[in-house]
Each structure stands twice: as C-alpha cells, then as structure tokens.
C-alpha cells in the first residue's frame, strides 16, 4: 500500500482525502464503468465523472470519433442528462463506489458554475468538484466562473485548465482560491472522418506526454496550489515523470479505454518505486522526485 494522504479543501465544509495518488480522469470510466472485475478501488484516489452541465445536453451526431496516429480525436458534444438528473440517477452507485466521486462541471458563464456548485453542496454522494472551462475562455471570465463556484462550494474545488492557455488559467485559478489544479485538459484537434466530415474535439494520445509534462513543470514553477497531472499517462514511468515535474497526484484518462487495469498498474508501479527507494510516504516520494530532477 502507498501511504498517501493528500488533503484538499481545508476550510470547506467537507474536506477531501485522496488515499491514492492515482485518480480516474473525467469521463474515463463513464457514469457506471466501475467494473469490479477490472477496477481495484484500493488503488484509486478518486473518480471524476464525465463533464456535466446544468441543463441536459443531447450530444453530437455522428461521426464522433476518428482514430489518428497513436491517438484519437473525439467529439461527443458533452452528452449528459444534466447535473441534477445525473446525481439523482447515480447517487446510490456513487455512494457505494468505495472511492470519492468528484463531479466534473462544464459551463460557459458564472451562473452555470454557481448553480451547479450550490446544488452539489447538498449532494452527499459527491466529494468534490472539478471545473471544466471552455478552451477559449478569456481570463477575466474564467476568474468569474471559478469564483462563482468557490462561493457556493461545500467541497473541494479543482480547476481543470485548458491545454491551450494552461498557464493563464492556472494563475487565475490559484488567485481565485482553487483547491487544486488539474493540468491539463486535452488539446483540441481536428481529424477527417472517412465519410468526409470533420471531427473536432479533444485529442487523446500518449504521444502528447512531454507536452503535458512541460505544462505541469511551468505551472508548478509559478503557483503554489497542488497540481494533479492529467494527460499522456499510460504507465508508471509517465506518472513518475509528472510527479518529478511538480504534480502531487495524477489522473489516468484514455488509457483506461485500452487497458482497464491501467490505474492498478500505475499504482503498483509507484508502490514498487517507493519500495526501491526506501520511502514510506507519498509526500516523501514527491519531495524526493522533485528534488532529484531539480
């Protein structure tokens, strides 16, 4: 077992304890993909839901996905039943998950985030919020959105920063009082489907790992908020690299579509590394790695 105790949201009504540094990224397991055959809850610090909006979203039409070299571009249109219905429908499942559930909230205006955070303040099945901002949102508006959510939030509030302006939004999030930053959302890509139409949306690929590492390194150098790294993580070595760059935890994302036991494999790899180095706590591991790399 990794002796990990990452506390987020001290000062809020409900604090969050991550007992593993390996999290499941937004949507990487869907709403109900907590397959006990494939998932060892003891190895997972938290599961982030797919992005939820205040109002239901019908989603995008076909095509929704194009396979690319070492990756894929996807566009689902954030299809979801709306935050309230999602929570009502999944409350029992999330309460029984054996892992903290963080609700990913997507919005375009501060009211969207305020309403969502206020609603989630009363939802006992959700232990935290991850704010998803539009990729092109300008800094001033992003600040309003984050502040609106933080005013209402009873649980820790993480801000997932867009890839394209990670540094700007990370600084905004840190100044606004976010409890942690998720660095970063996948970049937007565009790929041509075989039927001749574009698919425009997040690009997922392990080949992007060095770019995410660069973002984590930059953000960690500039802000004093805990960083949870997301992107390009397929193996324990990828997680270690991101820890060296300044992350205190990692979110495993699209590799879960390929390898459903990836969280366990990353966790066990980190545990082996700690044993090899003779370290007893995850905090020591982070300190050691960040110092070693310099």
């Amino acid at each position: 077992m990794i002796n990990c105790a990452i506390y987020l949201g001290g000062g809020r009504k409900r604090e969050l304890l991550l007992s593993s540094p390996v999290l499941v990224a937004a949507g990487a397991l869907g709403y109900e993909g907590f397959d006990k055959e494939l998932l060892n809850q003891g190895h997972i610090g938290a599961i982030v839901t797919p992005p939820l909006t205040w109002q239901p979203q019908p989603g995008a039409g076909r095509p929704r996905l194009v396979r690319t070299t070492a990756g894929y571009v996807t566009h689902t249109g954030r299809r979801n039943p709306g935050l309230r219905k999602a929570v009502r429908s999944h409350a029992r499942l999330w309460e029984d998950a054996g892992v903290p559930i963080l609700a990913a909230i997507y919005g375009r205006a501060s009211d969207d985030f305020a309403e969502a955070a206020a609603f989630l303040a009363t939802a006992e099945c959700v232990q935290g919020i991850e704010l998803h901002l539009p990729h092109s949102m300008e800094a001033g508006q992003a600040r309003q959105c984050i502040e609106a959510a933080l005013v209402e939030a009873a649980t820790p509030c993480l801000v997932r920063v867009p890839f394209e302006q990670a540094m700007v939004i990370a600084q905004v999030g840190a100044e606004a009082g976010a409890d942690a930053l998720v660095v970063a959302a996948p970049p937007l890509g565009r790929a041509l489907h075989e039927d001749g139409t574009w698919v425009h949306g997040p690009l997922h690929s392990p080949a992007l790992a060095p770019l995410y590492t660069e973002l984590v390194h930059e953000v960690a150098s500039a802000v004093a908020v805990p960083i949870i790294a997301r992107g390009g993580i397929a193996e324990p070595a990828d997680a270690l690299t991101l820890v060296a760059a300044g992350a205190v935890a990692v979110q495993v994302d699209s590799i879960l579509l390929v390898n459903p036991t990836a969280c366990t494999e990353v966790y066990l790899g980190l545990e082996r590394e700690m044993t090899r180095l003779g370290l007893s706590t995850w905090e020591e591991m982070c300190t050691r790695h960040q110092r070693t790399v310099g």
Partner: protein
C-alpha cells in the same frame, strides 16, 4: 467482460483478402454468445492506440474464431499473427442475438463480410438454418465448406443477381421464424420492408440486426457508438450490437 490473453492456434485466408484466425481461449469460448464481440489490442506500442472491435465469428469450448479483412493498420497487425502468438482481448462485449430455445427455422441474411457476425449462431443452435448472402465478386463468397452441411446456403454475386437475391430473401424470410441480419443500412431498410410484407405487418421479436457502429471502448464509456433507436440513443457496444430490426433507426 474480462481481459484475456488468447493464443493463435490457426490462421487461414478462406477468401482472397480476408483472414480467419482461430484463438485458443476456452473461458471466452464458453462465456460468449452469438452476436457478441471482442475488443482487440492490435500491437504492443501506442500506435494504433485504441482497441479494435471485432465480431466473434465462431465460438466453441476451445475458444473463438475471428473473420476480418486486414485493411487498416490494426487489422493488418492482427492478420499477420502466426500460430503461437498472443492476442490481448477484452470480451465478450455487448448483447448478442436472442436464439429460440425450441426448434425453429432460422434465416440469416447478410452482405459482404456480414457472415463474421452471424456464423456464431450456428454454434449455439440445433435449428434448421438457411443463409442468403450477397457478395460483390465470386471470389468473396464465403466458402461453403466452412459451414455445417445441414445449413442451406444461397450465395448471390454482384448487382446482376440483385433481383434474384431479394427474391431468395423474401422466400427465406417467409420460411424463417426468426431472422438475423448483417449488412448495409440500405439493405437493412429494404429487409425491414420484406419482413413486414411476409409477416403481414407483424414486427416485434421476429428479426434482429447486427449494427456495429464506431465502437472505440466497448464498455459504454466513450459515446462514439451511440445508435439511434425508437427508444432514443443506445450504445451499440452495450445495448447492441444486436438490435431489433424495427427498433433501430438507420442513417
């Protein structure tokens, strides 16, 4: 669904440009139902990244067989596997065909490679089966010798036999108490008209269609395979790939 490492125990090219791969994986062979599929990791590197979905072509106590064209990168990798090679699979995925428990007449209708999803029905039924198929060229007709002798197999080739094909489909649909279909959207739509006509308007529970869509995860996570049905959008990978012929709304 579970993750398996299956071993290649046989490989053939029954028709030019198509591969038939036999995989030893007894647990999967026992657990799978006709119409289900597996998600295959094609390679050991990050490219291709996502798994590929493939219908379970045949199934038995020793494992499964897959039938496919090695056209794109992942399938080419799979097609190049040799006896003794390991293949990483997730499965069985999705909802398979509903087969009658008693004796019935079953009609299977497919176009092109559609036999890859239908042939496993033959491994789980003792019913009388008639297969009507349409292939673009004589060289692409599924070999008769790979089907049980008891099966009546009516292959048609090319556009010039289109009328004959549809006449045979109509006769076979009148004969079969259950109908199982795999083919293009246009073919499935027309087959719906044939079934409605031969059953004098009766619809429910008669015919099932195999619709793969663009499955990327196989577990209802990524939403890429959402398929329109009369009951709203459904995941082809979870709620399908088998749907009632009259429930699915095709493009």
């Amino acid at each position: 669904m579970r993750r398996y490492t299956a071993i290649v125990v046989g490989s053939a090219e029954p028709v030019p440009g198509a591969r038939l791969l036999f995989l030893n994986c007894p647990q999967l062979g026992e657990a799978a139902c006709p119409g289900q599929f597996v998600m295959i990791r094609c390679g050991h590197s990050a490219d291709p990244y996502l798994r590929y979905p493939l219908a379970i072509h045949r199934l038995g106590p020793q494992g499964i067989a897959l039938y496919f064209r090695p056209s794109e990168a992942g399938m080419a990798w799979l097609g190049a596997r040799q006896i003794g090679d390991a293949v990483d699979l997730l499965g069985p995925c999705g909802r398979g065909f509903d087969l009658p428990s008693g004796s019935s007449n079953l009609t299977l209708v497919y176009q092109g490679m559609g036999i890859n999803a239908l042939a496993s029905i033959l491994d789980r039924t003792h019913c009388a089966v008639q297969i009507v198929s349409e292939a673009p060229t004589p060289g692409q007709v599924y070999p008769r010798e790979l089907l049980p002798r008891s099966v009546e197999f009516l292959p048609f080739v090319g556009h010039e036999q289109d009328d004959a094909f549809w006449q045979a489909v109509e006769v076979a649909c009148a004969w079969g108490e259950r109908i199982y279909v795999a083919g293009s959207s246009a073919m499935i739509r027309r087959l719906g008209q044939v079934v409605a006509k031969t059953r004098m308007g009766a619809r429910e529970g008669i015919a099932q269609v195999w619709v793969m869509g663009e499955i990327a995860c196989g577990r209802g996570i990524c939403q890429s395979c959402l398929t329109e049905t009369r009951a709203g959008l459904k995941h082809a990978c979870l709620d399908g790939p088998v749907f009632d012929l009259f429930d699915v709304l095709l493009d």
